[in-house]
């Protein structure tokens, strides 16, 4: 799995952090996503798919 993030689209919702806290974090003020692991282990795949699905800015793309 490879994750790509469009940081310009990110709205700072933090929904990705709620879904996959081992893979995503946020910057403090604007909340823009911080990708902690662009190539996460298999046990994170479901969480990452959920993060991409609920991102309200469609900023996360998952390639499998």
């Amino acid at each position: 799995m490879k994750i790509s993030v469009d940081f310009d689209k990110c709205c700072g919702a933090g929904q990705c952090v709620l879904a996959a806290p081992d893979v995503f974090d946020q910057r403090d003020d604007d909340g823009i996503v911080v990708l902690l692991d662009a190539d996460p282990p298999a046990d994170q795949y479901d969480n990452v798919r959920q993060a991409a699905a609920v991102c309200p800015a469609a900023a996360i793309e998952v390639h499998e």
């Binding site: 933090g14 952090v17 974090d25 946020q26 003020d29 609920v54 309200p56 793309e61």
Partner: protein
């Protein structure tokens, strides 16, 4: 999936909620036919940027695509775009489309969203805009230029975001609203007043507490607005941002229960094989027992996934939809985050930052419970209060300050502390919403 799982699922509405249903079905292993029907000719696109990056010209229309061509292809959908649903026959289980064709289904999802409310009698007047679709946004963007006199009717988030963009592009902006304090309806008087002040500093002329009586026009083109108190405001263009109404007209003869939206149970099921998701769905909130309909982008995605899960589980095994609503707004250099439901809250407490800094986190309460949290330029810290909203923690919260939480750990320390349990150490003293808390 059970043996009774439907083999044909039709989703009416090809925007965020409809797409989310389709994605959720595939993610949950559904291999049957999925037909995605949309009245707009475009591939699924995102609406929040319409009043932000698209309106400003920062993005072109291609950037609004919700999914790449490859991702859509992988979903293996039967796409019926540019084909409005005009009627539903729940007996025959068929959707009738405007082109005369019919789509059969075993389970149907209504995700037809909302339409922008217009001022009566203004259809066909050039220079009168709403902001809901791609065409709306492109049409308004083509008008925006330095010196353009733009009157914005309504002071909700769409109007406020458009005002910010229009000022940045040099237009002269007047905002007219019947609210005493613009944006106070969403955020309460203190934060509303702060936002109004920010708009005023950026040169927006705000006319609060007055209704618009009529759009003035000459030669079929808007020339201004007349207010209920008799004053007039000249304009080259008028943006009407006074809310939206659910797109349910096509269901009129279907027997599907429709009130303010499609009326569903707590699991988003409306009976007769019909489900609803997104802006159009009115569901019985499992905790309050009251009907709720949410016009926010994040809700569309979450509700779509929930409907997909519940369709595959079947109505008897479906689970209630119990979200923490989320919405954001970008205005000038302010990034606003809202978790929960602020409507009806009569208590507010700023727990980090201050109004003066224009950087804060506030908690909102009602009936002795935390109901929402708002962040302004404090996105990450604000998210840490979301669990208080999710569990509807008691208000006021017992004072037991935890300095680690109020400071917020640096990013390099890793996410663990900030993503732990809700901050429990916030001293809340139940200040009235109208009080000054900064």
């Amino acid at each position: 999936m059970t043996a009774a799982a439907p083999s044909r699922i039709a989703v009416v509405g090809a925007s965020a909620a409809g797409l989310s249903v389709a994605e959720g079905l595939r993610r949950d292993g559904y291999t049957g036919r999925v037909t995605l029907i949309g009245d707009e000719p475009h591939l699924p696109y995102d609406r929040p940027p319409l009043s932000k990056q698209l309106l400003s010209g920062a993005w072109d229309t291609d950037r609004l695509r919700l999914r790449s061509a490859e991702a859509l292809e992988a979903l293996d959908l039967e796409l019926r775009l540019g084909a409005a649903a005009v009627a539903l026959d729940t007996g025959a289980r068929e959707v009738a489309l405007a082109d005369g064709s019919r789509v059969g289904y075993d389970a149907l999802v209504v995700a037809t969203g909302v339409a922008a409310r217009r001022l009566p009698g203004t259809e066909g007047i050039a220079g009168v805009h709403v902001l809901r679709t791609l065409e709306d946004a492109v049409g308004l963007r083509e008008q925006l230029r330095p010196g353009l006199r733009l009157v914005i009717v309504g002071a909700g988030f769409v109007g406020a975001e458009a005002a910010a963009v229009a000022r940045e592009l040099g237009a002269e902006v007047t905002m007219v609203t019947d609210a005493a304090v613009p944006l106070a309806d969403a955020l309460g008087p203190d934060l509303g007043a702060m936002l109004s002040q920010v708009h005023a500093e950026h040169g927006v002329r705000i006319m609060p507490g007055v209704l618009v009586d009529a759009i003035l026009a000459a030669g079929g083109r808007a020339t201004g607005v007349r207010l209920a108190d008799g004053r007039t405001v000249e304009a080259d263009a008028v943006l009407v941002g006074i809310g939206a109404h659910p797109n349910t007209g096509w269901l009129a003869a279907s027997g599907v229960p429709v009130g303010n939206g499609v009326e569903c149970d707590a699991t988003l099921y409306a009976g007769s094989g019909v489900w609803a998701a997104g802006d159009v769905a009115s569901w019985l909130h499992p905790r309050t027992g009251r009907r709720l309909r949410i016009e926010h982008r994040a809700n569309a995605a979450e509700q779509g996934l929930a409907v997909a899960r519940n369709i595959l589980a079947g109505p008897e095994h479906a689970t209630p939809f119990d979200p923490v609503p989320y919405v954001w707004s970008d205005q000038y250099d302010l990034k606003i985050q809202i978790y929960g439901q602020l409507r009806g809250c009569d208590q507010v407490r700023i727990v980090e930052g201050s109004l003066a800094e224009r950087r804060l986190t506030a908690l909102y309460g009602r009936d002795g419970r935390v109901r929402g949290t708002v962040g302004i330029n404090m996105a990450r810290a604000t998210r840490r209060y979301r669990p208080l909203v999710a569990e509807q923690a008691a208000w006021p919260i017992a004072a037991d300050p935890d300095p680690a939480l109020s400071d917020g750990p640096a990013l390099s320390d890793g996410p663990a502390p900030s993503d732990g349990p809700a901050p429990s150490g916030v001293a809340l003293s139940g200040v009235a919403l109208s009080g000054r808390n900064a």
